[in-house]
C-alpha cells in the first residue's frame, strides 16, 4: 500500500502537538508588528495527529534500503556500519543542547572534543593542522582550494589553472571553479593512474595553481608516483590538493603528509563512519600542510594553559566557509569511532576493507569485465562490456541487484570507464555477506545471457518499479499542491 503525502492525510481541526501554556498577555500582532508584516494561518499546512505522523514516517522508512539491511556496495561512498554508541553520545544533553555562542568557559567540553578530533586527524593524516568547519566533502574541497588561492595571492601570484585527472569525482572540478579557478583535465594512463609526464608538461605553463587528485583514485588504484608528483608541483610553486574520499583504503598504512599533500579533505561520514542520513549531514574537515596553515578558516580551537579557546585572530585566514564551527554533532560521532578503534583497530579496518574488496574482485572477475588490471585497494571497478552484447547495461545490473536484496554499486562514474560498476564493500562485511553478494552477481550475469529482458525491466520486487526519470526532469513537479490548485 502506498503512503499518501502528509498533506493529503490532513483532517481539519486535528492537532499533532500541544505547546506549553500561554502564560502572558495575548498580543495582537497586527498592532505590535503592523498588519502588513503579519500573515494568518498557512492554509495548506496539514492537520494530523501524532500517531498519524508517527505512522507516516514509519511507513516511509520501510521503503528505504540502508546499511542496517545489508551490503551497500556503493563505490566511493564507504557505506560502513554506523555504531550505535556514537548515536547515543551525540545525543548527550551536554553536546546536543549546547549553544554555539555561550561563553567559552561554559563550553570547554565541546572545545576539547574539537581539539582532540583535530589532534587525531593530524595523527592519522600526518598533516600540520585541520579545520573542522566544512560541512561535507565538497565543502572541504572548496575550503581547501580557497586556501590555496589565498596562499597564491599572498605570494602575488595570479595562477588560475587547476589540473584534475579525468577519473576524478565531479565535485573536484566544481569546487575548483567555485574557488575561482579554471579546470584542465589530464587523461589517465592505461593503468588508470596519473600521467606524470602529462603533469610535467602542464606545469611548464607556470599557471598551474594545483593538482586535485584522489588517492587511491576512483578505480581503487593507489597512485604510485604521488610523492613524485607532489615534488614536481612544489618545485613549480604549485600545490597538491588531495581528495580524501578514499582515505578508508590506507588509514594506518600510509599518510597524505608523507605523500606531500598540501590540503586534504576528510569525509568523516565515510572513513570515520558517521551516518549518511539519506544524503547528509556529513562533515569535511580539511587537513593542511604548514604552508597553508595561516589560511585556515576562522576560528580554530587552541589550547592555552589547559584552557580551550576559539582563535579568530588569524589575519591571513580565508575567513569563514559557514556559520559557527562545523557539524559538531558529526564530530562527536567521528571521534568516538576513532577512539573506539584506536591505532590497532583503525589499521585492522583498513586491512579488512582492502581484503573484502579484493575478495570481490577475484570472485567476480570471471563474470564481469575488469577494464583496468592494476592492483586495487578498497574498491574495484568492473564494467558491463560482457553484458552489453545482450543489450544489458550497468544500470540494468544495478537495478536487478535491488531485487536480490542488495543495494547497487556506483554506476555514474568514474567517467573513464564506460558502463562502470564500482564496488566498495567496506570493512563492515562478513565473508558470508560477500558470498551472498557474489552469488547474486553471478546469477545476474547468467540472467543477462539467458533472459536479458528480466534485467532491462528490473527491479521487480521493490516498493516501486523503474521510474520515469525523463518525465521528472521535463515536467518538473517539485512540491505538492492542493487538489484543484494550479501549479503557478
Amino acid at each position: 500500500a502506498r503512503e499518501a503525502l502528509i498533506f493529503e492525510r490532513s483532517t481539519p481541526g486535528t492537532v499533532g502537538y500541544q505547546l506549553p501554556a500561554f502564560d502572558v498577555e495575548p498580543v495582537d500582532p497586527a498592532k505590535t508588528l503592523g498588519a502588513e508584516l503579519v500573515r494568518g494561518e498557512i492554509a495548506d499546512l496539514p492537520e494530523v495527529s501524532e500517531v498519524e505522523v508517527v505512522r507516516h514516517f514509519h511507513r516511509l522508512s520501510q521503503w528505504n534500503y540502508a546499511v542496517d539491511e545489508g551490503l551497500y556496495p556503493l563505490g566511493s561512498c564507504t557505506m560502513k556500519y554506523n555504531p550505535r554508541i556514537n548515536e547515543e553520545l551525540a545525543r548527550l544533553s551536554g553536546f546536543a543542547q549546547v549553544h554555539p555562542l555561550q561563553p567559552e568557559s561554559e563550553v570547554q567540553g565541546a572545545l576539547r572534543l574539537m581539539w582532540e578530533l583535530e589532534q587525531a586527524l593530524i595523527g592519522i593524516t600526518g598533516m600540520a593542522r585541520v579545520t573542522l568547519q566544512p560541512a561535507a566533502g565538497a565543502h572541504g574541497e572548496l575550503a581547501g582550494m580557497l586556501m590555496i588561492r589565498k596562499a597564491l595571492e599572498d605570494r602575488g601570484e595570479g595562477r588560475r589553472t587547476v589540473l584534475i585527472p579525468d577519473s576524478a569525482h565531479g565535485t573536484n572540478p566544481a569546487s575548483a571553479v567555485f574557488a575561482g579557478f579554471k579546470v584542465k583535465e589530464i587523461a589517465s594512463t592505461s593503468a588508470g593512474t596519473l600521467d606524470v609526464d602529462a603533469l610535467r608538461r602542464e606545469l611548464e605553463s607556470g599557471d598551474v595553481a594545483a593538482l586535485m587528485i584522489t588517492v587511491p583514485n576512483t578505480l581503487g588504484v593507489f597512485e604510485p608516483e604521488i610523492a613524485k608528483a607532489a615534488a614536481m608541483l612544489h618545485e613549480k610553486g604549485a600545490f597538491l590538493y588531495m581528495d580524501g574520499a578514499n582515505l578508508n583504503a590506507f588509514v594506518g598504512v600510509a599518510s597524505p603528509g608523507k605523500m606531500g599533500a598540501d590540503a586534504l579533505h576528510i569525509n568523516l561520514h565515510k572513513t570515520f563512519s558517521t551516518p549518511h542520513g539519506g544524503g547528509g549531514p556529513g562533515a569535511g574537515p580539511v587537513a593542511v600542510s604548514r604552508l597553508l596553515e595561516p589560511y585556515l578558516p576562522v576560528p580554530v580551537v587552541e589550547k592555552r594553559q589547559g584552557v580551550f579557546t576559539l582563535d579568530y585572530d588569524r589575519p591571513k585566514s580565508i575567513g569563514k566557509v559557514r556559520s559557527f564551527y562545523g557539524n559538531f554533532g558529526i564530530m562527536v560521532r567521528a571521534l568516538a569511532y576513532i577512539l573506539s578503534l584506536g591505532r590497532n583497530g583503525l589499521k585492522a579496518m583498513t586491512e579488512a576493507a582492502v581484503l573484502n574488496a579484493n575478495y570481490l574482485r577475484r570472485a567476480l572477475a570471471e563474470h564481469y569485465h575488469l577494464p583496468y588490471q592494476s592492483p586495487t585497494l578498497h574498491e574495484v571497478v568492473f564494467d558491463d562490456s560482457r553484458q552489453k552484447p545482450f543489450g544489458v547495461s550497468n544500470i540494468d545490473i544495478a537495478k536487478r541487484l535491488l531485487d536480490y536484496g542488495f543495494h547497487a554499486p556506483t554506476v555514474s562514474f568514474p567517467l573513464i570507464v564506460h558502463g562502470a560498476l564500482m564496488i566498495e564493500p567496506t570493512d563492515s562485511e562478513s565473508l558470508a555477506e560477500l558470498e551472498a553478494f557474489v552469488e547474486a552477481m553471478k546469477a545476474i550475469a547468467q540472467e543477462a545471457r539467458e533472459n536479458p529482458e528480466l534485467l532491462k525491466t528490473a527491479p521487480h520486487t521493490t516498493p516501486v518499479r523503474r521510474l520515469d526519470e525523463v518525465r521528472a526532469a521535463r515536467q518538473p513537479i517539485l512540491r505538492w499542491y492542493p487538489q484543484g490548485a494550479e501549479s503557478p
Binding site: 505547546l19 502588513e36 500573515r39 553520545l89 548527550l92 592519522i124 549531514p281 582492502v354 585497494l377
Partner: protein, 445 residues
C-alpha cells in the same frame, strides 16, 4: 585481536587463502615505502563503556540550557523538540541510508524530502525549493551565486550588514573567490537596513535578513522596491518567524533562504542544522543543490526521484550550479517531522507565543532603563531584541552565576554591532523565567 566492528575473524584467513596471500600486507604492495607510516600516534582501541565515560565527562564540562534558564538566540533557537522527531531520525532506515541514487529502494527519503520542499514553499510563499543546503550561511552564498549566474554582466552585491555576522563572513569568503563586490549596507535609527545606498542597476542582488540580526523586522516591500532588476533575497535565520510574518514570497522576492534549525533541531554547538533555499520557477535550472521531483514508475504509480541533476556536479562537473553533493537530508527530515506535528495551527501558535512572550519581556525590561536599554524600542521585533549595555560579556557572566543564560553578547558576533545583549524568547520560556531575568538584570546590570 579482533575488533567489535569487524565481522569474521576466521573470514580474514579464508579470504587470504582464496587470494593466495600470506598477509594483507601484500595487498598494499603498490604503496611505496616512502609514504608509509608506522604505528599511528593514537591510543589503543577503547571499550564502549570507556568511550562512554570519556564523552560523558566532556559533555558534563559544558553548561546547557537544560540546566539553566536560556535566552540565547542569534541564529540558533531553542524551541520545543517533539520526542517523535528523534524517534523518526533514529530509524536506521533513514539515518544509515545514502543519498537516494536508487529511487526504487529510497522512496522513504525521497518522499520525505519532497514534503520538505513543499513545507519550504508553503512557509516562504515561493513556488520551488530545494532538498536542503548545509546551513543559513551557505544558503545566502548560493543565493548570491545564483544571482550572479543570472546577471552575469553585473558584479555588485548589496548586502545588509544586519544579516547574521557568520552569514556575512561566509559570503565575504565566497564573494572574493567569485570576484563579486560586496557593498555592505548600514542600518538606520530604527535598526532597519538603510536602503538608500542601493544601486539596483549595477547589482546582481540585494540581500537582507528579516528579522535581522538585531531582531528587527525589515520592511520587505521597501526592499523589494529598492532591488529593482537585481535579485531580491530574503534571509531567514529564525525560521519559526515564518509562522507569523509575511514572507518574501508575498512581496515578490526572488529568493527566500536561510536556516530551518529553529523548527526543533538541537543547537548541537552550531551544527548540523539545515539550510533552505526557495526561489521562482523561472530560475529552476540555475538552482543550487538537489531537487526531488514527482514522477511515475513503470506501473504508472506516483513515485519520487532526484531530478534536474544536469545542474549538479556529478554530471556537469566544472559547469555545475553548485559544488554541493552531501547535503543535510536527515536534518531536513527532522524539520519535516516537526512541521507535520505542529501543523497548520501549531506553526502559527508557536510563532505567536514566541512573539507574545518576547513582547512581555520587552515591556518589562523597558522599565529598567537606563541600566539596560532597548536599542530600538519603537521597531517591530519578532522574538529577539537588542538590549544596549556597555559590558555585555561581564553582565552575562553575572547572570550565568544565577542560572540564567541571558542572551548573546554582540561582541561575540561581530565588532561592528552596537555593544549589548541579544535576548531571544521562545514559546518554551515561561513568564516566570522572563520575570527572573528582569529581576536579575535589575540587580546586576
Amino acid at each position: 585481536m579482533m575488533h567489535r566492528y569487524q565481522p569474521g575473524a576466521g573470514d580474514r584467513q579464508r579470504i587470504l587463502q582464496f587470494l593466495g596471500l600470506k598477509s594483507p600486507e601484500e595487498l598494499f604492495a603498490a604503496i611505496p615505502q616512502e609514504v608509509r607510516v608506522g604505528e599511528l600516534p593514537l591510543p589503543l582501541g577503547m571499550a564502549e563503556e570507556e568511550v562512554r565515560r570519556v564523552f560523558r565527562e566532556w559533555a558534563a564540562a559544558n553548561v546547557t540550557a537544560e540546566e539553566k534558564v536560556s535566552f540565547l538566540g542569534a541564529g540558533v533557537y531553542r524551541h520545543v523538540v517533539p520526542a517523535v522527531m528523534d524517534a523518526v531520525l533514529s530509524r536506521a532506515e533513514f539515518f544509515t541510508a545514502y543519498t537516494p541514487y536508487q529511487p526504487e529502494v529510497s522512496q522513504g527519503t525521497l518522499q520525505a524530502i519532497f514534503e520538505f520542499q513543499t513545507y519550504v514553499c508553503l512557509l516562504t510563499e515561493m513556488p520551488v525549493a530545494n532538498a536542503s543546503l548545509y546551513d543559513g550561511a551557505t544558503a545566502v552564498v548560493e543565493a548570491v551565486l545564483m544571482a550572479a549566474r543570472l546577471r552575469p554582466e553585473k558584479r555588485k552585491v548589496f548586502v545588509s550588514r544586519l544579516i547574521h555576522p557568520d552569514y556575512l563572513a561566509t559570503l565575504r569568503t565566497y564573494a572574493e573567490a567569485a570576484e563579486l563586490e560586496l557593498l555592505e549596507l548600514p542600518w538606520d535609527g530604527a535598526g532597519r537596513t538603510d536602503l538608500s545606498q542601493i544601486h539596483p542597476e549595477e547589482a546582481v542582488a540585494v540581500v537582507v535578513q528579516s528579522p535581522n540580526v538585531l531582531g528587527v523586522v525589515e520592511d520587505l516591500a521597501a526592499v523589494k522596491k529598492a532591488s529593482g532588476e537585481a535579485l531580491s533575497v530574503q534571509v531567514v535565520a529564525e525560521a519559526t518567524s515564518l509562522g507569523l510574518l509575511a514572507p518574501g514570497g508575498r512581496f515578490g522576492f526572488d529568493v527566500v533562504c536561510g536556516d530551518m534549525q529553529a523548527f526543533g533541531l538541537p543547537p548541537s554547538f552550531g551544527g548540523p542544522h539545515v539550510g533552505f533555499f526557495a526561489t521562482r520557477k523561472e530560475y529552476l535550472r540555475q538552482m543550487p543543490g538537489r531537487l526531488v521531483g514527482q514522477t511515475v514508475d513503470a506501473d504508472g504509480q506516483r513515485a519520487f526521484v532526484l531530478t534536474l541533476s544536469t545542474r549538479e556536479q556529478h554530471i556537469r562537473r566544472a559547469k555545475a550550479t553548485s559544488n554541493i553533493c552531501t547535503n543535510h537530508s536527515l536534518m531536513a527530515l527532522g524539520v519535516t517531522v516537526v512541521l507535520s506535528l505542529l501543523g497548520k495551527k501549531g506553526v502559527r501558535e508557536l510563532a505567536l507565543a514566541s512573539h507574545a512572550k518576547a513582547e512581555y519581556l520587552k515591556k518589562r525590561l523597558a522599565s529598567l532603563a537606563p541600566k539596560v536599554q532597548l536599542a530600538f524600542p519603537e521597531s517591530p521585533t519578532y522574538n529577539e531584541f537588542l538590549l544596549l549595555h556597555g559590558e555585555p560579556e561581564k553582565l552575562l557572566a553575572r547572570l550565568s552565576e544565577e542560572g540564567i543564560l541571558g542572551g548573546v553578547a554582540t561582541s561575540r558576533l561581530a565588532s561592528y554591532l552596537p555593544p549589548g545583549v541579544l535576548v531571544a524568547v521562545t514559546e518554551k520560556n515561561t513568564r516566570e523565567e522572563c520575570d527572573r531575568l528582569v529581576d536579575a538584570l535589575g540587580r546586576l546590570a
